[in-house]
Amino acid sequence: MTSLMKKVLNVFTSFYSLIVVIVAWEIIGRSGIVPFFFLPPLSTIAYTFINIAVDLLLPHSLLTIYRALAGFALAAIIGVLMGLSMARIRLAHWFFDPIVALGLPIPPLTLVPIFILWFGIGNEPKILLVTFGCVFPIAVSTYNGARSVNSLLIWSAKMMGTDDRRIMWKVIVPAALPFIFNGLQVALPISLVIAFVFEMVAGGGGLGFLEIYSARFFKAPELFSALLAIMIIGFVLDKIFQKVRSKFLYWAQR
């Protein structure tokens, strides 16, 4: 066997199962063994996806992304500040430590009814619940990062006469940055899930709303299109995050 054939075969074995699944899906969908709204053929879903992409999917997607990222950004700011202050200030540690320990294991989605009660059904409850769900993992990893800064670095900086504020921004924050990014990476998919489920439960537009709405009226192709959209968004956001991360952390070995 030539090396080219081997290469082709290797590529094929690495994704042939996807072809099997796709073909089986298409055949089952077309054969009429299952009702149309159970499993529409993939080609129909693709057709619908393209058809409603601009008019329906895009605005709903943007709404979901906006809610997720706004909450995420808020959580990033609060979480990093909380983690840093916990690592450097004893009083902050005393106050926040039990709150984080209690808040971290709370499944944020249980609080959906409370957030609806407090903030209504617009954008605010969704954004704020995303913030609640993301802030604790970010705070914990920031704290761990800031605690694990090599003391030698701090001592050297102090010895050369660096004041406390510069130590914070020039030594501790950069040294903790890989940990902070780890926390952000954990929080990013959480933000999407919370925004999405909140929209499913409370409505008010967004991909989650679009999906549950399609399910109620048995519009299966639209339902699958919404699923496809949330999949693509999760994938793309993660890729963008990786890019940003390697830009900030080019000096740190992964």
Partner: protein
């Protein structure tokens, strides 16, 4: 002893402080009790929910779904993880499917399973199963792959056959990884069951919560949420305790 007590008391102060503020602002009417019921009334409601047996009934429904899905996810995930680690063909088949489905939030599949299976226990169990499946596969796979070769060689040189090798060496060595997967999957099962029940269900703790919310009986709604949070917190602690006990022989069990 006395110092220990004092230390743990000082740790509880921030929480007690928040609860006190909650109680005061609602008692003196600074915050409308229609928005935030007083803490004492939430506690009273919680006691009532527990004593009347309402919460137990709904909790059992939720637990049945959560643990049903979790158990299925563990079973299938461990088998698939082992299969992928041992047989290359199995890995080739499932690898691309897993890579592609990994970024889907599993809760997003709730409306789809509603269409497929209706508003039933099976629909909830199916979504929870899917949510728990991936961490189980990934952890089991890595566990098998990272079994110390020296262990396998020593067992073989002592005459262990293939089946004994699996039962006596590979499986025990993979246990810590499997437990790690379970610890990831356990909160998943709780999160997904509550989401499913909030979206659509006829019973279960999520149904109880949204029911009280819809009727505007907020102290009971807060109480039900509080009970569920305490319960999921306790479940994680119990799971960790159990795992440490089973893995006593494992030197890093304390790190679980």
């Amino acid at each position: 002893m006395f110092v220990n007590l004092l230390v743990s008391l000082s740790k509880a102060i921030p929480i007690l402080l928040i609860l006190t503020i909650w109680e005061t602002v609602t008692q003196i009417g600074l915050v409308n009790t229609q928005i935030l019921p007083t803490f004492s009334s939430v506690l009273r409601a919680a006691v009532d929910l527990i004593y009347s047996g309402i919460v137990i009934r709904h909790l059992l429904v939720s637990l049945y779904r959560a643990f049903g899905g979790l158990a299925l996810g563990i079973l299938v995930g461990v088998i698939l993880g082992f299969g992928m680690a041992v047989k290359k063909q199995v890995k080739n088949f499932f690898d691309p499917i897993i890579t592609l489905t990994y970024p889907i939030p599993k809760v997003a599949l709730v409306p789809l399973t509603m269409v497929w299976l209706g508003v039933t226990d099976q629909a909830a169990i199916f979504v929870i199963f899917l949510a728990c499946l991936l961490p189980m596969i990934v952890n089991t796979y890595h566990g098998v792959r990272s079994v110390d070769q020296v262990l396998i060689w020593s067992a073989m040189s002592l005459g262990t056959r293939e089946r004994g090798l699996f039962r006596k060496v590979i499986f025990p060595a993979t246990m810590p990884y499997i437990f790690n997967g379970i610890r990831v999957a356990l909160p998943f099962s709780f999160i997904v069951v509550i989401s499913v029940e909030l979206v659509a269900s006829k019973a279960g703790i999520g149904n109880l919560i949204s029911g009280y919310g819809g009727l505007g009986i907020y102290d009971y709604m807060f109480a039900a949420i509080l009970i569920f949070i305490v319960f999921s917190f306790a479940a994680d602690r119990i799971a960790v305790r159990l795992m440490r006990r089973i893995l006593q022989w494992y030197e890093e069990a304390g790190a679980l």
